[in-house]
């Protein structure tokens, strides 16, 4: 029975991987990767790694892929650059040959290794192998330092993403007509008795006073970076 599940999940994983590489539209590539990740989670379950399989489905196929889908939708999956023919035939042939050579080398390395247990089903493991308790105990005792370093790495990545994707000055022409609060500040003298009497024009202070200084400050069209 395990063989049947292995072949279903393995063929699904390989087909998903081929789909990621072959499909022209990046949106469908992301969907193929989701399929691939779900098949991999099934393989992890067959290897008694229940917690990693659950994390794979929830975190990877769920959260990370949603991020991908958002970015593909933002950037535009059907961009004209995708419709250009991909790299030339020569490079494609070289890449496929490289992949084939890599696979053959890895297969030789796997099958020719001196590990005896590699062609068995593996030892019988206890019921607690790969459960959340087991993983949590390992993470918080034996691997406490890698755990903390990983959390710090996530923090650095989050800060880096914010810095990379934040809005900067001079981004585009559509930013120019954004309304600022300072645009609504009336020049001094409007609505007063002096205006009614005619001693003071409404247009004049608009240019002289706050109008010119604050609203058009630091709008560098060339961009800041």
């Amino acid at each position: 029975m395990a063989e049947v599940f292995f072949f279903i999940a393995g063929i699904g994983a390989v087909c998903g991987a081929v789909g990621v590489v072959m499909v022209r539209n990046p949106f469908y590539s992301v969907l193929a990767l989701v399929f691939h990740l779900l098949s991999l989670a099934a393989l992890f379950l067959l290897l008694q790694a229940q917690f990693v399989a659950a994390a794979q489905v929830v975190v990877y196929a769920g959260a990370v892929m949603v991020l991908y889908v958002f970015v593909v939708a933002y950037v535009g999956g059907a961009d004209p650059t995708n419709l250009r023919p991909p790299v030339g035939r020569g490079q494609r042939v070289v890449a496929v040959l490289f992949g084939l050579a890599l696979f053959i080398e890895l297969a030789i390395a796997v099958l020719g290794s001196g590990l005896k247990a590699i062609s068995t089903d593996g030892p019988t493991v206890g019921a607690s192998f790969g459960t959340p308790e087991n993983i949590g105990q390992l993470l918080l005792t034996k691997f406490l330092l890698p755990f903390e370093v990983a959390s710090f790495l996530l923090l650095i990545a989050a800060v880096g993403a914010v810095v990379l994707a934040r809005r900067r000055g001079g981004i585009g022409a559509d930013e120019e007509d954004r309304v600022a609060v300072m645009d609504f500040r009336l020049p001094p003298g409007i609505g007063t008795m002096a205006e009614a009497v005619g001693g003071r024009s409404t247009r004049e202070p608009l240019e002289l006073g706050s109008g010119g200084g604050e609203t058009s400050r630091a709008r560098d069209p060339e961009g800041g970076w």
Binding site: L47, V72, V75, G99, S119, I135, L138, P146, G160
Partner: protein, 99 residues
């Protein structure tokens, strides 16, 4: 199912990912192919963890997932920054790092 089958699947997925990194032009798809390679490494790690009846390989796989999430975060941030600057989303066009 004997464990070398898992390692062969891992090698196959890794090779497909490597070939994809070499052939695709869109940086989003290049990142997806990098994910494929990291996941191939994950299968191998978990298969060896099963082989030695030792949970350390699974911890390693979780750390690889963390690193993959960070890589996705930074990579997608770069793609969004490219799009904001109206640069072509194409790794062949972005050859020079001078800003």
């Amino acid at each position: 199912m004997s464990l070398d089958w898992y390692l062969v699947v891992s090698a196959l997925i890794f090779s497909i990912g490597a070939a994809g990194v070499l052939t695709r032009r869109n940086p989003l798809v290049v990142l997806l192919c990098l994910e494929l390679m990291l996941n191939a490494a994950n299968i191998a790690l978990i298969a060896f963890s099963r082989m030695w009846n030792n949970g350390d390989g699974q911890i390693f796989a979780i750390v690889v997932m963390v690193v993959a999430a960070c890589e996705v975060c930074i990579g997608l941030g770069l793609v969004v920054a490219l799009y904001r600057r109206r640069l072509p989303i194409d790794v062949d066009e972005i050859r020079e790092l001078h800003g």
